[in-house]
Amino acid sequence: MALKKLDATLVQAGLVSFELAINKALKYDPAVQKKLRALAPKVLAINITTLDLTVFVQFGEQLELHSHQEQPADATLSGELSAFLNLASHEDKHAALMKSDIQIQGSSQLAMGLADASSHLKIDWEAMISGLTGPVIAHVVGNKLRAFSGWFKNTGQKFKDDSVEYVRDELQLTPHKLEGESRFSAIHTLKLDAERLEARIARLKARLKQP
């Protein structure tokens, strides 16, 4: 269900802030910046149905975000906010986009180009901080950030694994993978047997009808 349409001024404020943040971040990942520049002068529309909001991404020297575009976009991604948030959380956005509920219209190459570039976004935080603090402090902070980032990633993965084991083994709410596979295999065999039986009955019926 679409929410009440957002005030245009609020949308503009959000877009300006987001645009500044993205361009600032891209400055510290020249490889991705180059990939995005290669998409110029194309326009990608992102239609978030939940918010009744369409954001137009204009590729160029810098990324520009607009709430309205007079010329039609080269490609449109449409979906609910949850689908886009889900996509943003995946590392491999290219694969995630293919599997998601987001609809692609127009040049899928453009949509995939953006997904591909954002998957590889690795911001050089150290370079960003060194502009403010100088290289020595930036290196120390960078090391700490990298260590924290690694810890955060490991902890997140461990939490995910432990949660799965707890639900399966302790609470016994879900079956083990092997158990599940065996059950599904049995169901599949049964399905095939039933189909064969159905075919046999059909053949017998056909014979009985023959004079």
């Binding site: 005030d7 245009a8 001024t9 503009q12 300006v16 709430s67």
Partner: protein, 249 residues
């Protein structure tokens, strides 16, 4: 009984020929501090309103654009980048003080080549018929003495298919917002004008002229009467400002 035609100057009724001089006086007074006052008075939001306007212009490389009442050249600067060296942008204003501030600002920022500066009255544009692809007027129409005449002039100088965009203060229908806005514009605005530009009167005129300006639907009707098609408007900040758009058929 006098035959003189009258018009509004804020809440006052003045003779038509008087209004232009009075408006000129206001803008001569505020020109030097126009940008800083705009930022302070609108908390910087006027930049978002202008950004929204730019999205509807559909300007392309090589286009001819008229930024009428362009003042200090906020929109002209963006148009100059968009039309490129093969295009042309005319920054026009009736007030020479505002035009000088705009011209100096643009030249200081390195903008030249595809920009022309013209001092003119929106009611009597010194341009040939069918000359422009886009005309924009940001916060200028309410100061024009004969708005219908100005709209007809815009229609004349636009190319067929060209678009007019008028960004102007308008009327909010939200009672709570209206109350807060009235309080702000009749108390805080003149006080800020007094402190920063040492000129409370000019800023009182600003608040009064906004209230006397036609509302969204009336202005849309005026667009149609002037010969524009596909007329529409978009409210911004709850209707405090509205962007009107019309296409010359």
């Amino acid at each position: 009984m006098s035959d003189d035609k009258t018009t509004h100057f804020g809440y006052k009724t003045v003779r038509e020929e008087e209004k232009q001089g009075k408006v000129a006086e206001v803008f001569h007074n505020v020109a030097a501090k126009y940008d800083i006052m705009n930022d302070l008075m609108s908390f910087g939001v006027h930049r978002l309103w202008k950004r929204f306007t730019m999205e509807f212009t559909g300007v392309r490389r090589g286009n001819h654009v008229l930024d009428i009442a362009g003042g200090t050249g906020d929109l002209t600067m963006k148009f100059s980048d968009q039309v490129g060296p093969e295009g042309k942008v005319v920054l026009a204003d009736i007030n020479d003080s505002m035009l000088k501030v705009g011209r100096d600002r643009l030249l200081d920022k390195g903008y030249s080549g595809n920009i022309e500066f013209v001092q003119c009255n929106a009611q009597y544009l010194p341009f040939e018929d069918n000359s422009f692809d886009v005309i924009t007027m940001a916060f200028g129409l309410r100061n024009v003495t004969d708005k219908d005449m100005a709209l007809r002039e815009f229609n004349r100088v636009l190319k067929p298919g060209g678009r007019l965009l008028v960004l102007e203060f308008s009327h909010t229908k939200n009672p709570l917002l209206k109350k807060a806005y009235d309080l702000y514009s009749f108390s805080a605005l003149p006080m800020m004008g007094k402190i920063i530009a040492n000129d409370a009167e000019s800023y009182r005129y600003l608040a009064e002229s906004i209230r006397m300006h036609p509302d969204q639907e009336t202005l849309k009707g005026m667009f149609k009467d002037a010969g524009f098609a596909n007329c529409e408007y978009h409210n911004l900040t709850g209707g405090i400002v509205a962007l009107h758009k019309g296409i010359k058929p």
